[in-house]
């Protein structure tokens, strides 16, 4: 085997090895990784009125207006799972409607500018009747906080 060929083989082997290691490190990366946009160290508890819900793929967005201590409203948009995962968790157009008073647990985005609105990744949602449901996606790398019933310890 000549030198040039050896170098090409070595480069390809190293490339495959790196790819394999990355694959092992992120075995269950879903649509996109939690840590790329959200801060697992910044939990938020949002109570407010649903403004609108975008029932879209690959993530639905729940918009709600949270009243501050000064009585001023701040709009938050909260990332949820796909319309499909939400429907299976009992969250759909009929159960989650604009005007509803809900409580959302989640984590704020790394970007804290709140421009044009504040952004968070939703974990669970509590409806006016007290029913609680997981609204996130499994396996995104979000903190294991018990919100996800399918979570493996």
């Amino acid at each position: 085997m000549n030198n040039g060929r050896f170098i090409v083989h070595a480069a390809i082997s190293i490339g495959l090895l790196v790819a394999a290691m990355l694959g092992v490190a992120y075995p269950v990366a879903a649509h996109h990784a939690f840590a790329a946009e959200f801060d697992g160290k910044a939990p938020v508890l949002l109570r407010g009125k649903v403004n609108k819900v975008e029932w879209i793929n690959p993530h639905a967005w729940v918009h709600l207006v949270v009243l501050g201590p000064d009585g001023k409203g701040q709009e938050w948009m909260v990332e949820a799972g796909t319309p499909n995962t939400l429907a299976r968790a009992g969250i759909d157009r009929n159960s989650l409607r604009p005007g509803m008073e809900i409580v959302v647990r989640g984590y704020q985005s790394l970007d804290r500018s709140c421009i044009p609105v504040c952004k968070a990744n939703g974990r669970d949602i509590t409806f006016p009747d007290g029913r609680k449901a997981f609204m996130g996606s499994s396996g995104t790398g979000a903190p294991k906080d018990g919100a996800d019933p399918n979570e493996r310890q």
Binding site: R5, I12, I56, N57, P58, S113, I115, P116
Partner: protein, 204 residues
Amino acid sequence: MEQLLTWLQHGLGKGAGDTAQSWSETLLGSLHFWSLLEGTHLLTLMLFVGTILVVDLRLLGVIFRRTRVSLVSEAILPLTMFGFAFMVITGLTLVFAKPLFYYHNIWFRLKMLLLVLALVNVWVFHSHIQKSQGAWDAEPVPPGKVRAAAALSLLSWIAVIACGRFIAYDWFACGKPQSTFINAVEACKASEEGAYSLQGKRLN
């Protein structure tokens, strides 16, 4: 352009009534079809680029060195074409689900540029470089210009895939406070989300 894409996203196929949705909105909100499209796009692009990888490595003189180039490429090309057809159809349909978003996305714009580069390379290979194939078809390591085209092919397709992957992240999304340069590259001022300066000031 803005008007055409707005019509594609919000107008086309919209019926009467205040809950009516356009075809694009129905697709974007679908329970199963959108995921099926995305999954098919990813699987067929793997088939497409995976088979290109094999041919390019033969052209680079790395694998199947004792097999004629034409033998390798003729066996594999039908798979590549199959993957390409499904990849393009599903890709266009995914763009149709959210045209305004992709139009104002920096990764999508970069991806389209790289796609043009990759396709020009395909055209140059088939129309010029392949003319002399008889001379190097059986060579274990084809000449420099053949290897250069193969290397450019590999790099450009991998870059296209990488940009496609990054579309999912909102690091440079319009509506976020960011540099004038990024706002200009994405034409954020014309987008629904608008353009914001690094200081958080709305620019339009």
